[in-house]
């Protein structure tokens, strides 16, 4: 398929998905119990005038569709509205917190890819006892929920050894932030390292068994080159297709890890805003998460033909 057609189709798909997601989230929020106005009043009684005034300010009395389309119109003009709980512009609220979450996810992703690929590769190539050891370790990793990992890491490296801070995201300097986010990133990555190592291992074992590897070996190509050029590269496609899954897991789990380490990124903000039915904030964060997920999928689809010539643009192996 031509690249132009591919691009047009993907952009249209993304727009449609974002629109649907925004409508679904808005509807779910609308149907959930609780009235944002009463959270705003901190659970105290209010005069009818005050309630009427809030309802008017935030259009809480309008019919569902009217509210949704007003919100949509504002967003299309780049206005994400004002947070009901935080009494500040949503864009400012997110600008303060998004960098932390993105850094955490990027750090986690780096750890997952580096360690997961390495372990999977070693297990497949070495086999024997090394393979068994890695399998056992990854079984533990896969069986450890990120929240438990967070508690364990906190106890060992922060409280007992004092190597890392037990919570928070530092005070702004990049070095300090990296130091603060190391434990959370590892907690977030642990499960996915296990998963990626296993996927890499099985994909490589499959490639090792294939005919062209046998042919390459019989021609006397050095083993290292066989592994790198034939085996690892062939298995990369399978590994890449798990990329979407990895990132969606990171996005979902960051909520728990951020809470465990009190990081105060958008994961924690999402949880709090859902609690208080802060429509504009929940909408904005949900859309960011959906958009991130789709962007990662797009990157995967663009990279696949490059690593695996058998795949053409816009198609995928049936892995996910």
């Amino acid at each position: 398929m031509s690249f132009v057609r591919f691009a047009v189709r993907r952009v249209a798909e993304m727009a449609a998905t974002l629109l649907t997601a925004s409508f679904v989230v808005f509807g779910a929020m609308y149907l959930a119990p609780g009235n944002p106005a009463s959270f705003l009043l901190a659970g105290r009684s209010a005069s009818p005038e005050a309630l009427a005034s809030i309802n008017a300010q935030y259009h809480l009395d309008d019919p569902f569709l009217v509210r949704y389309f007003r919100w949509l119109g504002d967003v299309l003009q780049g206005d994400f509205g004002r947070s009901i709980t935080y009494r500040t512009d949503v864009s400012r609220l997110l600008a303060d917190r998004l960098p932390t979450t993105l850094l955490l996810i990027v750090m986690s992703l780096a750890v997952v890819v580096a360690v997961g690929l390495l372990l999977g590769r070693i297990a497949a190539v070495r086999g024997g006892a090394t393979d068994s050891a890695i399998l056992v370790t990854t079984t533990f990793a896969v069986g450890t929920p990120s929240f438990v990992a967070a508690v364990l890491l906190q106890g060992l490296f922060a409280v007992n050894l004092g190597w890392f801070p037990s919570s928070g995201a530092g005070d702004g300097g990049l070095g300090d932030m990296l130091w603060h986010l190391t434990l959370p990133a590892v907690a977030l990555a642990l499960y996915l390292i296990g998963m990626l190592a296993r996927v890499t291992r099985s994909a490589m074992l499959e490639a090792l068994d294939s005919d062209h590897v046998t042919v390459a070996r019989s021609r006397g190509v050095p083993e290292r080159q066989v592994i790198r050029r034939h085996v690892f590269r062939n298995s990369l496609g399978t590994v890449l297709t798990t990329g979407g899954l990895i990132v969606s897991t990171l996005l979902v789990c960051t909520i728990l890890v951020e809470t465990a380490f009190s990081i105060g990124g958008i994961g924690q903000l999402l949880e709090l805003s859902t609690t208080t039915k802060d429509f504009p904030t929940v909408q904005a964060i949900s859309l960011i998460i959906v958009a991130l997920f789709m962007i990662v999928n797009l990157i995967v689809d663009l990279l696949l033909p490059l690593v695996d010539p058998r795949v053409t643009l816009g198609t995928r192996s049936a892995a996910v």
């Binding site: 609780g34 037990s166 005070d171 996927v199 465990a260 789709m294 696949l304 892995a319």
Partner: protein, 557 residues
């Protein structure tokens, strides 16, 4: 929770990559468990309670100055606008930055604050004479205009102030001199002058608030007059306060106070153990023993004006019969709950109000208020008989529970255990923390629920703060209790200024509310305070909500 990422529809075209059955199966299996296994909820912590709990009136006075101390708070204040400051995190911070006309003291009495004198020339007039020479953080000097403006913001419906109700009987607030403000009421209101010691009575610089516009409270300074001014607010992380050197009163002993937001209970405890935080209020009950045994500092308990109750929300069902409410109260294992749910720090009670709220009452009033209340001890046989008599045996009742804290979850379990023993069928309805909050604010959320655990704290040292909740139509009167006699008494107590006389009326209210078991009282819950060995001086009582406590914190050695 989050939205599940959508799957974009994909039509496969051209040649597909191959995937062996084995690795396909492996990938599929991993995919299906991935999102389930990767993040499951927090593990249950074992209770780590304490046994010998005695309340401390205060902590040792600070011996010198320090550069900075760090305090753990469990949530970030959404905004520091004083008009909506009505929750622990925001008040714990704000009490050090913004000051009110009157001041609540560590001993829970009220004394002059930014007003030197409050006088009451007639029952519907309060005159506040302001302290001269008070400087705001923006450098301006406080005048009557600032007071009129600041209180006016609380009354403006467009502001949706959490404190608006305090001003319900106020007809006008005017400047009656350069340093004098007169408040007119449409009827006597004994609660209003007391509330002027809370965030309801905060005075901020008119110029600063107007300059900040709609961002007041979230960015820039607060334009208040307290011993600390707002420094760097690292959103989602921490709030720094800096000592205000032009403060009119006693200067703060620490140059800086840093509030760290630590939402996770174990993260909060860990930070206090590792020294990342020097102390905190509202210590998780399951961490009492750990903190006490760590040797890193001292755990204090103080008067909290808080009671833990079972809030009856449905009088249409079996709980409409007072015999069933009495039976439940008789069957409840209060001391077991205090041990497990409050970490051993608490006292069983049969009173909806704390004894400390009555500290100003004479002996005879206390007798009326506290004598012959329903018993706190268990009497299962008697309770069974009551249920039978009411014809409620085998009837189903639903109690709401949530994972927001042991005071909630373990009390719900205790109610279930009590009901089961006396022939009631008690269902627990577990709801998400956010839906639990909605119980307070949304009648729909309370549908199908007969009762839920509720911890209530007074904002002023007056039992009426809690007792007025059972007036017809009162906001927290979820059960819709309505008794003209009770309403009359509430109105009378609201109208009487002399304390002794008012407390006499309140004693009658307390008796009726407790006797009727409109909420089932369970325990008094003290405040908990931890400070490590480096610092000392913070008050132990709930006064920290409106008293500039951080100014008292300094070096322990």
């Amino acid at each position: 929770m989050t939205t599940t990422p959508p799957r974009t529809g994909r039509r496969f075209r051209g040649r597909r990559g191959r995937l062996s059955p084995a690795s396909a199966a492996a990938t599929a299996a991993l995919t299906s468990v991935s999102l389930l296994a990767a993040c499951s909820g927090p593990p249950k912590e074992k209770a780590g309670g304490v046994t010998d709990v005695k309340l401390s009136a205060s902590t040792p006075e600070a011996r010198g100055e320090i550069d900075s101390f760090t305090w753990a708070v469990y949530a970030e204040p959404p905004t520091l606008d004083y008009t909506v400051a009505f929750d622990y995190p925001q008040n714990t911070v704000l009490s050090n930055v913004c000051e009110s006309l009157m001041r609540w003291t560590p001993g829970l009495t009220t004394e002059p604050g930014l007003a030197q004198k409050a006088s009451n020339p007639d029952p519907t007039t309060w005159v506040y004479d302001l302290r001269p020479g008070v400087r705001f953080h923006d450098g301006k000097e406080m005048t009557a205009d600032d007071v009129v403006f600041s209180l006016g913001r609380q009354r403006d419906p467009d502001n949706a102030a959490a404190w608006a109700q305090v001003f319900q009987n106020v007809t006008s607030i005017t400047k009656s001199g350069p340093l004098q403000v007169t408040v007119k009421l449409n009827k006597p209101d004994s609660q209003f002058p007391q509330y002027m010691a809370t965030a309801a009575g905060v005075v901020a610089s008119k110029a600063a608030v107007e300059a900040a516009g709609k961002d007041y409270g979230t960015t820039g300074g607060l334009g208040c007059s307290g011993p600390f001014k707002l420094g760097t607010w690292n959103k989602g992380q921490s709030i720094e306060l800096e000592r205000f050197d032009n403060y009119w009163g006693t200067k703060a002993k620490s140059k800086k106070a840093v509030f760290r937001v630590l939402t996770d209970p174990s993260a909060r405890t860990n930070a206090m153990l590792s020294g990342e935080a020097d102390g905190g209020y509202l210590i998780p009950t399951e961490s009492y023993a750990r903190l006490r045994g760590s040797g890193t500092g001292t755990l204090y308990f103080g008067e909290g004006l808080s009671t833990v109750n079972v809030n009856v929300t449905n009088m249409q069902g079996p709980l409409g019969d007072i015999r069933v409410r009495r039976a439940l109260s008789l069957a409840l294992d209060r001391s077991g709950f205090v041990k497990a749910g409050l970490g051993g720090a608490g006292t069983v009670t049969n009173s909806l109000t704390t004894r400390a709220a009555w500290s100003a009452a004479p002996e005879r009033t206390l007798k009326t208020a506290f004598d012959s209340l329903p018993p706190t001890g268990q009497d299962i046989e008697k309770a069974k008989a009551l249920v039978k008599e009411a014809g409620a045996t085998g009837k189903t009742l639903t109690v709401a529970t949530s994972s927001i804290g042991q005071d909630v979850s373990l009390l719900a379990t205790a109610v279930q255990a009590a009901g089961t023993r006396i022939g009631l069928d008690i269902q627990l309805k577990t709801i998400a923390p956010n839906a639990f909050t909605a119980l307070f604010t949304d009648p729909q959320a309370r549908e199908g629920i007969d009762m839920f655990p509720l911890t209530y704290y007074d904002s002023i040292t007056d039992p009426l703060d809690l007792l007025q909740n059972f007036k017809t139509g009162a906001y927290m009167n979820f059960a819709g209790y309505s008794d003209p006699e009770y309403d009359k008494l509430v109105d009378r107590a609201s109208a009487v200024y002399p304390l002794e006389e008012r407390m006499d009326v309140e004693a009658k209210l307390q008796h009726q509310a407790s006797d009727q078991l409109l909420w089932i009282p369970v325990a008094e819950w003290p405040t908990a305070l931890f400070m490590n060995k480096r610092i000392t001086g913070a008050p132990t009582t709930i006064s920290y909500m409106y008293y500039p406590w951080a100014a008292d914190v300094g070096a322990a050695q």
